[in-house]
Amino acid sequence: MAENRKLTVSSSPHIRSAQDTRSIMLDVIIALSPALLVAVYVFGLRALVLTCVSVAASVFFEWAYRKLMKKPSSIGDLSAVITGMLIAYCLPANTPYWIPVIAAFFAIVIVKQLYGGIGKNFLNPALAGRAFVVASWPALLALSPAPLGYDSIFNFGSDAVTAATPMASLHAGSLPDVGILDMFLGKIGGSLGEVSSFALLVGGAYLVIRKIICCRIPVSYILTVAVLTFIFPKGNNNLQWMLYNLLGGGLMLGAIFMATDYSTSPVTPKGQIIFGIGCGLLTVFIRYFGSYVEGVSYAILIMNVCVWLIDKYTLPRRFGVTREDKRSAKKSKEVAAQ
């Protein structure tokens, strides 16, 4: 009794799972790496350098903003690293180095930090950053280098041979001149991180196994696109048209890594499915009827805006209240009103 003990008093629970924000983000970075490896293989080391520039810029802006605003530093949560990677992933490998820096500024400062930082932004920072640079310098980003278009992977110039991406021919209504296996593995033109559906699916599987994301959004998104493109093949073979639509362009990258962004996707199970379907519908709509070649990024950005609404109207069923209960309550109310 004489002992003077200092015991902490805090509210339960007194234990916590080891998983924290940082470990989650680290898992996402791991899941994103296979796509980067393929990008280096397909487009040369420039893809890696471009990604590093983008990551460095994102982390710098995150640090600098919080420092200037005298807010606690948040670069330790590693979310800025992911934003940087994703920005680079949706740019062609021959993009001038200053472009991702500007995109990173827009993504981190305007889209993310001005709204209060991680968890508070309502637009996907990487996609918004990309949309901003695409709108500002469309000519610079229109063409992607052809796969292995460099003399060697050590060619760092941005003057490589360029070629139309599979997405461009799909937009024109015809099947691209690439084998389906090359499409799947990523030996195609396109933004540097989106080309290999295989690498992205491996990353996605890792995220699902580690329970970082659940498959509701990616599956409902990809399925919606699959069904729609299968039904409306624009005069092509249904199956082929569907497969090229799934593998070409940014669908896998978008569905697995962008649409599942925590801050900008719903948290309710029903809401996640609605969100995925919405993304799928808009993607196909833009691809078919829009002037842009690719619809993934705008589809996701549009759905981002609806997230709060979706969450609000997809409250899970209340424990102890079954659907029958609700119906009978409604009925008795109507009876009372009469």
């Binding site: 805090s10 339960s12 007194h14 989650i24 968890g119 899970p316």
Partner: protein
């Protein structure tokens, strides 16, 4: 056949090695402090005064209120004080302090009940009340009242042997060491409730207890021993009922609304002892564990024993504890003063040295939805938290903050390290305070208009 509730978490169970060793009866201390409120409901009036000599098991406090349970002396000796003392909950409650004479002289009332008496349901209820038996799992709801209030509505008795909190093995050891007594207690509860069926639900991480109980259970006893998947909070009343029967207790309702009554397995054991040994609820098995203890073990501890005495007898702290918890790590209360006594619902005392709560300086919600994924009440903890922080009552109500059972699963799982469960406790208090204020205002205006 069993059903599944939504969500749940798998915290590391840490039940070993305390689960391996026999329960050790702890020598009663030289002084016990017995609060006159060891249960939910009306507190008891002390029936003794300073200077009185009391015997072991003698009634020292009672109340006429229906929701209450009498309190007995847990040692024999002299009453040295009847005064407010600190309780584990942090409140001051009138307590009877008894100086132990070391004799354990039993009270004359501690006699076994006759078989004849035990065939009458009302007599069983009466003896359960007289023995001061309450929900021994920690809820401490008076058992006799639970039985009488459920009469006619309850057709299924569920015995909670889930013990889903990490570290705790007190029920498990009781099942292993006293299987017949536990089953006997269940039969008495069934008789008292007037039902022919009971389901004894046990998490499947206690396989040997399940096997043992099955072997001791006679076929026509009406008791079903049901293994449950190990998942926290399997032992929470509403979740247990859902798993066992598939039924959901409606919001704000009692288990009787779906025909169920849930009793803890230690409660059943206590009923047995009260009936066949005449021993009232004066002691319980307590798991003493945590990183500040060398040897986690189970002790049979008298109610009223100061915590510091329990820890001392259990070998003392090997390292300076940072936090001491009464109950499990998910739902237990942290105590700051070790002079507070063990109470009827104390199933564990845990002393931790390092901070296992992994608190961070700036808890930040990243909207990962992991709280939603695990909430067993189908709630959206992140939104409840947001509205609670903003004092937005409409938002709290829309998100059904009052449905929260404070199980802690969301906060356990939150990577942003938000103090979710704490916020919901605060939110409930705010809502209650506002409702009270509104009622008072309405009454005041009513009074003003009638004048």
């Amino acid at each position: 056949m069993s059903f599944k509730f939504h969500g749940g978490v798998h915290p590391p169970d840490k039940k070993s090695p305390a689960d391996k060793t026999q329960v050790i009866p702890l020598n009663p201390p030289s002084l016990v402090v017995i609060p006159m409120s060891l249960h939910i409901g009306a507190p008891c009036r002390p029936a003794v005064k300073v200077g009185d000599m009391v015997k072991l098991g003698q009634k020292i406090g009672d109340s006429d209120a229906p929701v209450s349970a009498p309190i007995h002396a847990t040692v024999s000796g002299k009453v040295t004080a009847v005064e407010p003392r600190l309780t584990p909950a942090g409140t001051m409650v009138t307590s009877v302090v008894i100086e132990n004479d070391g004799m354990d002289t039993p009270c004359e009332t501690m006699v076994p009940h006759s078989e004849e008496e035990l065939s009458d349901p009302d007599a069983i209820v009466a003896l359960i009340r007289e023995a001061g038996i309450v929900g021994m799992g920690g809820a401490t709801f008076p058992t006799a009242f639970k039985i009488t209030s459920g009469k006619g509505k309850v057709d299924t008795v569920i015995i909670n042997g889930a013990e889903c909190e990490p570290y705790i093995t007190s029920d498990y050891r009781t099942m292993l060491e006293h299987p017949e007594e536990v089953l006997g207690g269940i039969r008495l509860i069934m008789k008292a409730c007037g039902v022919s069926r009971a389901i004894f639900a046990i998490e499947d991480n206690k396989a040997d207890a399940i096997a043992l109980l099955k072997s001791k259970n006679s076929e026509n006893s009406g008791i079903d021993i049901l293994p449950l998947k190990t998942l926290y909070p399997q032992g929470a009343e509403k979740q247990l009922i859902k798993t066992v029967t598939g039924l959901e207790v409606p919001p704000g309702g009692l288990p009787a609304a779906v025909g169920c009554a849930v009793f803890n397995c230690f409660t059943a054991y206590s009923v047995y002892r009260a009936a066949y040994e005449g021993r009232p609820a004066i002691e319980r098995v307590v798991t003493v564990a945590g990183s500040a203890m060398e040897q986690p073990k189970n002790y049979l501890v008298r109610v009223g024993t100061p915590l510091e005495y329990v820890f001392e007898q259990a070998g003392g702290f090997i390292k300076e504890p940072h936090k001491v918890i009464m109950g499990g790590p998910m739902m237990g209360v942290a105590v700051h003063d070790l002079s507070v006594p063990v109470i009827k619902g104390t199933n564990a005392l845990l002393a931790f040295c390092e901070d296992e709560t992994r608190t961070v300086e700036n808890p930040t919600c990243i909207r990962c939805g992991k709280c939603v994924e695990v909430c067993p009440m189908n709630l959206l903890p992140l939104y409840m938290y947001m509205y609670e922080q903003k004092d937005d009552y409409a938002g709290m109500e829309r998100n059904r903050l009052t449905d929260c059972i404070e199980c802690g699963a969301c906060a356990y799982n939150c990577p942003g390290r938000l103090h979710l469960t704490h916020s919901f406790r605060a939110g409930k208090a705010k809502i209650a305070a506002r409702a009270a204020a509104e009622k008072a205002r309405a009454e005041a205006t009513k009074a003003a208009t009638t004048v």
